[in-house]
């Protein structure tokens, strides 16, 4: 028997019907007959394949991956809304699910009636819901509107109600799917705060989101789903890093440096042939080949994997046809240990067009200290390492 708040999936597979072809009465009845007798039809595709996860109580896990990778299907299986085609799923305790925005919100009922309805769906008694009722109304900022029919709510109000109900009814396991995508910045921040609070109370959190920063800020573990298969699982930073790298690698193939100027090779080294290290200088050597006279600005940036760099430096180039080597000496890098990507691009000043499109040219693994941990639900914009000294005096 697992403790309350555990989430476990053993060898979970999920199959969906392939393409909805024309379905006549005969096809339908055949399909039903097949289902009843347990002999499934032939046309199908696997949405999830052999998923094994084991989340202990109180842990927070982020599910990331491209669209159609099976994240939402996995979450639906965890809520027991969907049954897995094969394998077993165990979720212990009360489950609060926030799948799409308005989980379980009924438009014809008032906000108050919805709170009670959702409470009983989660297995709470009326008295238990009544205890938390004021908190929910306060969080959702509904006040008098709580006795209005939900269909007359604005979409923001509906979402606040949905989130408030799911997060305040103190589930043992909270499953959240893409809710932070909607709502204004202030509300998103309050949702993150509330999730942190819920986590502090020992609730297990499974969060599905495309917002990698939010996942990184809220979850300690990450699971990367790719075409229904777990590609990576572990500490959230590593998993997100791997995911970003794969996305970049994919984009890389699509980029073709063509035209008058191209980068033939790029190397990033530490000073004096030593390994690249954080808070030490870095030398980037770029070999260029020009087929005509070029004048433009060379931009060079370092990123965690995406095309969004942490910083950018630039240099004015005047090149004759032929091969050239550009060496860039970066001063002490304020970056923690990890893998970084060096991006480069050349922009023609005359008509502002890309001579060389912005693309990754090489990567570098920095050695050295890591970052201090951030509190849960505090989102850091870029990994900048700043040395700090501390003093504590009694005054």
């Amino acid at each position: 028997m697992l403790p309350e708040g555990s989430v476990r999936a053993d060898g979970v597979w999920k199959r969906f019907k392939a393409d909805p072809i024309r379905r006549t009465f005969r096809d339908q009845s055949k399909a039903i007959a097949g289902r009843v007798t347990g002999k499934g039809g032939r046309g199908h595709r696997w949405a999830l394949r052999d998923i094994n996860i084991d989340v202990p109580p109180g842990a927070s896990v982020g599910l990331i991956g491209a669209n159609g990778s099976g994240k939402s299907t996995m979450l639906k299986i965890l809520t027991r809304v969907m049954y897995p085609t094969a394998g077993t799923v165990t979720v212990m305790g009360r489950v609060g699910a926030l799948i799409e925005v308005r989980a379980g919100i009924h438009p014809e009922l008032t906000g108050r009636e919805n709170v009670y309805l959702y409470g009983s769906l989660m297995g709470l008694s009326r008295a238990q819901v009544a205890e938390r009722f004021d908190d929910i109304v306060g969080f959702a900022e509904l006040d008098a509107a709580i006795d209005r029919q939900v269909k007359f709510y604005s979409s923001g109000m509906q979402m606040r109600l949905g989130f408030g109900v799911a997060a305040f009814l103190e589930p043992h396991v909270l499953l959240v799917d893409e809710v932070l995508a909607v709502g204004d910045a202030a509300f998103q921040q309050r949702c993150l705060d509330r999730m942190r609070h819920v986590l502090a109370q020992g609730t297990t959190l499974v969060l599905v989101s495309h917002d990698l920063a939010a996942v990184e800020a809220t979850c300690e573990r990450g699971i990367w789903l790719d075409k229904g298969v777990i590609r990576a699982m572990g500490p959230v930073r590593e998993v997100i890093g791997e995911y970003r790298r794969s996305v970049e690698a994919q984009l890389d193939h699509e980029l073709h440096a063509s035209g008058a100027l191209r980068v033939t090779s790029a190397v990033a080294d530490g000073v004096d042939g030593g390994p690249p290290a954080s808070q030490r200088p870095l030398d980037v050597t770029i070999a260029l080949e020009a087929t005509e006279r070029i004048s433009g600005r060379l931009y060079l940036g370092v990123s965690e994997g995406t095309a969004t760099p942490i910083f950018v430096v630039s240099y004015w180039l005047e090149l004759e046809p032929g091969t050239h080597e550009v060496r860039c000496h970066l001063g002490d890098l304020p970056l923690p240990a990890g893998r970084y990507f060096v991006y480069a691009g050349v922009i023609d000043r005359v008509d502002d067009h890309d001579v060389v499109p912005w693309h990754p040219i090489t990567h570098v693994d920095l050695f050295g200290p890591g970052l201090d941990p951030t509190p849960v639900a505090v989102v850091r914009l870029a990994p900048v390492l700043v040395s700090s000294g501390w003093e504590l005096d009694r005054t």
């Binding site: 394949r49 969907m82 009924h106 009922l109």
Partner: protein, 294 residues
């Protein structure tokens, strides 16, 4: 925390094309455990039924008066058209036809409300079905809760009718009331479960529901009495349509003061329980795939 770390070997493991043969999910029919699960979710059935009752009369002027009006209108229609014009009577008994018809209309109304709303309850509640887990049979059951509210209101109207027409209900009727209503409940729930789950897969059934209800109104002794049918035929009738046992039993005992025909009741009971078991089994069998197609 350690158990969670499956990182390195998760990536390197080779995943087969199909899950191992033994691991396929098979829906199992555990009668006792599913009944227990429904019992645990009884608050939910109540909440859902309450919701449906409220939603039904929201933004209406007459509100709950509609629950009284519908059977009353049917009763008047029956009294005028069936009794006056078609000369159908209350089975040679010296009782007001209005009360006679109303005793048939109440169980029929219960059944048709449960069936019409409950049969579509899964399709109508896909928003909930796809987001929150609960035993799915509570949706048809909640529809039955709504029908029960109507039935209770109808019961008050019935008492009123008894008083107005000066008819005295017989005491045996009260003894038989519970078993007769049980037959009605079991039959209504069984058929509704069967239809509710099937409709999700085969939406054509939805179109047949009004047709089935019209047919049922004639195939059930609502407007007419059972006097013309006797012996094994009558028992068979009750077996196929257990509402026969309920309606006839209520009239015999409550209105006429006769003894209830035990064989008709037993056949009705057996029929109703069979409908319930078959309906529940089919429902449970179809339940796992509902979220995939709903």
């Amino acid at each position: 925390m350690e158990a969670f770390v499956a990182g390195p070997d998760a990536a390197s493991r080779v995943i087969p094309n199909e899950p191992p043969a033994g691991s396929y999910f098979k829906p199992k029919l555990h009668l006792i455990s599913s009944v227990r699960e429904v019992w645990r979710a009884r608050v939910l059935v109540r909440t859902l039924a309450e919701r449906d009752v409220r939603v039904r009369y929201k933004q209406t002027v007459l509100g709950f008066a509609w629950a009284i009006l519908m059977p009353l209108v049917l009763m008047v229609v029956f009294t005028v058209f069936v009794k006056r014009f078609a000369k159908v009577d209350a089975g040679n008994q010296d009782v007001p036809y209005a009360v006679f018809a109303y005793l048939g209309l109440l169980p029929w109304g219960f059944f048709s409300t449960t069936f019409a709303a409950g049969g579509l309850s899964l399709v109508a509640n896909t928003a909930l079905l796809n987001k929150v887990y609960c035993p799915r049979e509570i949706f048809p059951m909640a529809s039955m809760g709504v029908a029960s509210v109507d039935l209770s209101i109808g019961g008050v109207v019935l008492a009123f009718l008894f008083a107005v027409t000066g008819t005295v209900p017989h005491w045996q009727g009260l003894v038989w009331l519970i078993p007769e209503l049980f037959v009605m409940l079991a039959f209504s729930l069984g058929i509704t479960l069967l239809v509710a789950a099937s409709v999700v897969y085969l939406r054509d059934i939805r179109q047949t529901i009004p047709l089935f209800l019209q047919f049922g109104l004639f195939a059930t002794p609502v407007a007419y009495s059972l006097n013309g049918i006797t012996g094994p035929q009558r028992d068979l009738y009750a077996l196929v349509n257990p509402l026969v046992a309920t309606i006839d039993g209520l009239r015999q005992s409550l209105l006429f003061g006769h003894h209830v025909q035990v064989s008709t009741f037993v056949f009705g009971l057996v029929g109703a329980l069979t409908y319930l078991l078959v309906g529940y089994a089919v429902f449970k069998k179809l339940e796992p795939g509902i979220a995939d197609v709903a």
